[in-house]
Symmetry: C2
Subunit: 348 residues, 2 copies
DNA sequence: AATCAAGTTCAAACCGCTTTGGACGGCTCA
DNA sequence: TGAGCCGTCCAAAGCGGTTTGAACTTGATT
C-alpha cells in the first residue's frame, strides 16, 4: 500500500493525503481524519526510501565504531551507549546506522557515509588526544557530537563528557583521607582523552596533599580483566606495594581484585579499590549495596543525552556547538577502608 | 557531484555513465575507463537514497536488539557479534541498521522496518523457546537468520548456532573424569534456547554416568557477575557443596570465582570451574594460557558467518533455509583439577 | 546494395514520496 | 457587484539514481 493507492481509495490527490498525514494546516480537519483513519485501516507506512530521496534527509545517524586494529577490541561500553542513543532516536523517528571499522581507516567511512547521503550526522566514539576526526568532520560539514572530548582540538565542536578529572581527583582524595599514601592508578590507554584526564585528576589530588607520585604505581593499558590483573600483580609483587588501587573500569577492576585475592589479601581490608563504573547493564556494580567503591556515571544515559544533543543540532544547524559536562557520583562500596598500618602482607 | 553532472562533464548520457559504473557489458571499454577515471577524479559517490528508491532494495540489514524490559539489560555478546557481522556487511556494501527495543515490543519494529522498506533482512538475536519471532518474520516475508535456534518452532528457518548441548555435555564429562560428582550448573535464564540446550547436555552427561542431578546444584538466572556470585554463594554455603562449577558465561564466572575466593578456597585446586567463553574481545579468557577451562566459540566469528548466510539468502531468496551448527572447543585452563577427597573446606 | 546483427549510446519512464505553484469556490468587504 | 482573500484541494515537477526500449553506427553477410 503506497501513497498513490491510498489516495485513490480516498478519492483524493496524493498531495492532500501526504499533507494530511504530515500535519500540514492547509487540509480540512474532517478530511484529515478520514485520511488518518484510512491510513490506519490499510496499515499504510510511508516508504522510507522515497521520503529520504524526496526530502534530502537521511533520517539516520551514523555511529562509526572504531575497533582497535591491533587487538580487534570493541569498547565494552559501546553496547550500553548505543542502547541509550537508540531510545532517543526512536523518539525522533531516526534510524541508527552502525559501521564497524578498524580504527586506522575510519576517515574513508565518514567521508563515504556523508557523500552517499546515508546519514544526517554522527556520534563520535572514544576520542583520542588531538583526535583528527574533529577536523575531518568539521570539514565534511555534517553535525556531530563527540562522546568525550579531544584535548588539543582547536576547532569548536559539540561534546558530552563526564568530568573525569574531577571524579578521579575526588576518588584519590577519598583514599588519601582514609590514610592511603601508596595509591596505584590502573588506567586505560593514555592516548585516550578520558584516560589523560583521569590521570590529571589523580596527580592533582596527590600533589595537593604533598604526596609524590610514583611512576611504578601508574599503569596505562587496555582495560581488560587480564590487563588489570597483570598490572596489579606487578605492583603488588614489587617492593613497597600499593595499599589502594584506582582503576579505570570495572572490568580491569575484576583483574585487580583477582590479583589481590590470589595473594591472600582481602579487598577493602588489606587493599582498597576504587573503580570507575560506567553502570553497564551486564556488569552491574552490585544492586542495593555496591561491590566496589566507585565513581559512577551511566554510559547509557550519556548515549541518550548525546543523541538528544545531536537531534537538537540537526534541527538547528546554525546554532553554536553544544557542550555538556556530567559529574560522576562517588559511591561507597565494600572495597575501601582505612589504610592498614604495618606490613599489610602479614595481616592475612 | 551527482550522476547528471558527471554525465554532462563527460558528454555522455546518465544512462551510459550509470552502466559504466555498474559494470554492465553494453558499454565500450574505453568509455568505461573514461567514466571510471572521471568518477574517481571528481570523487563521485552515488546517492544511496536514490539507489535505494530506484532499485527497491534497502541495501541494509536490520538488527533488532532486544533489551530485557525488566532489567534493561543488553546482551554483552552483542557488541562482538555486531563487529563480526559488520565486517561481512562492509564486504557486501550493505549498511547495518540497529534498533534497540524493549523485548516485549519488538513485533511492531519488525513490521515497521519491513513496511517502510528500511531493510532487506534481519538477524534475530537471543532466541527463546518457542520464539514467536520465527512465525512473525516468516509471515513478514523478509529473509532472516537466527543467531541460535528456537526449540519448538515448527516452521523451517535459517539459523547459525553453537552446539551448546554437546559442548556442555563434554565439559561435564571432563569434570566427571576428574572425579567430580557434585557438579553445579550456573546457567542463563532458561527460557533462552541456548540455556536449555546447555542444561540438557549437562544432564545427559550426568545420567550417562549414573550420577543423579541435584536440583540444588542447578541455577538459572541472568548471566551477570552478581548473579553468578549469588548462585555460587548459596551453593557453597549449603550442606554438601559442589566441587565443580559449570558456568554459562565468563561474566558470571567472575562472580563464581569471587564467591569461591571469598571462602578461602582456590579455583582449580579446591573447586573447579568451567565456563562458556564467547571469546569477547574485551573479556579475553587469557592470552597464551587460558584463565578458565572453557568451552569456547567465538561470537564474533558467529556474527561474520550469520551475516554471510543472510547475504546468500538475499541473493537467492528461493533457496531452502540455511542452517549451520558450530562446535565449541574445550580448552583447558587453570581452573580445573581433580576432585579433592575428604572435605574440601578443610584443605584451605 | 540491401539486410542484419552486434556494439554502443540515449531519451524517457519509473521508484514513492514531498513541495511548488496554481485552481476553484465561497466569503468578506468596499 | 466585483475585487480580494481564505480555505481547501490538485497537477506536476522535482529528488538522483536505474532500467526499458529504441536509435544510431559499423561491419559482416548475402
Amino acid at each position: 500500500m503506497n501513497l498513490k493507492e491510498l489516495a485513490q481509495k480516498l478519492g483524493l490527490s496524493p498531495t492532500t493525503v501526504s499533507r494530511a498525514l504530515n500535519g500540514y494546516p492547509e487540509v480540512n480537519e474532517t478530511t484529515r481524519e478520514r485520511v488518518l483513519a484510512a491510513a490506519k485501516r490499510h496499515n499504510y507506512r510511508p516508504n522510507t526510501r522515497a521520503i529520504r530521496l524526496a526530502t534530502g534527509r537521511a533520517m539516520a545517524i551514523g555511529h562509526v565504531i572504531p575497533v582497535a586494529a591491533k587487538h580487534e577490541m570493541v569498547n565494552p561500553v559501546f553496547a550500553d551507549f548505543i542502547a541509550g542513543a537508540g531510545e532517543t532516536y526512536a523518539r525522533f523517528g531516526h534510524d541508527m546506522v552502525l559501521s564497524v571499522v578498524p580504527d586506522d581507516d575510519d576517515a574513508r567511512i565518514y567521508r563515504d557515509l556523508h557523500a552517499r547521503g546515508t546519514v544526517d550526522g554522527f556520534i563520535v566514539h572514544a576520542p583520542h588526544l588531538n583526535d583528527p576526526r574533529i577536523a575531518l568532520l568539521t570539514e565534511i560539514g555534517l553535525p556531530f557530537v563527540v562522546h568525550g572530548r579531544a584535548t588539543g582540538a582547536t576547532l569548536p565542536y559539540s561534546w558530552l563528557d563526564v568530568n573525569n578529572r574531577r571524579s578521579f581527583q575526588r576518588a584519590t582524595e577519598f583514599l588519601l583521607d582514609l590514610g592511603h599514601r601508596r595509591i596505584a592508578l590502573v588506567n586505560g590507554l593514555e592516548f585516550m582523552d578520558f584516560a589523560v584526564r583521569r590521570r590529571t585528576g589523580y596527580l592533582d589530588a596527590l600533589a595537593a596533599r604533598g604526596v609524590t607520585a610514583d611512576p611504578g604505581l601508574m599503569h596505562a593499558g587496555e582495560m581488560t580483566e587480564l590487563g588489570g590483573h597483570r598490572a596489579a600483580c606487578a605492583m603488588l609483587d614489587a617492593a613497597d606495594p600499593p595499599t589502594a588501587f584506582l582503576v579505570s573500569s570495572i572490568i580491569s577492576g575484576f583483574g585487580v581484585r583477582r590479583a589481590i585475592e590470589e595473594r591472600g589479601l582481602r579487598p577493602g581490608r588489606d587493599v582498597s579499590i576504587i573503580i570507575h563504573d560506567d553502570d553497564l547493564s551486564y556488569m552491574k556494580n552490585g544492586d542495593d549495596v555496591p561491590i566496589y567503591t566507585a565513581t559512577r556515571s551511566s554510559v547509557r544515559e550519556a548515549g541518550r543525552l548525546a543523541a538528544e544533543m545531536l537531534m537538537a543540532i540537526i534541527a538547528n544547524p546554525a546554532s553554536a556547538p553544544l557542550q555538556r559536562l556530567l559529574e560522576a557520583d562517588l559511591i561507597i562500596g565494600q572495597t575501601t577502608g582505612p589504610a592498614p598500618h604495618g606490613t599489610p602482607r602479614n595481616r592475612n
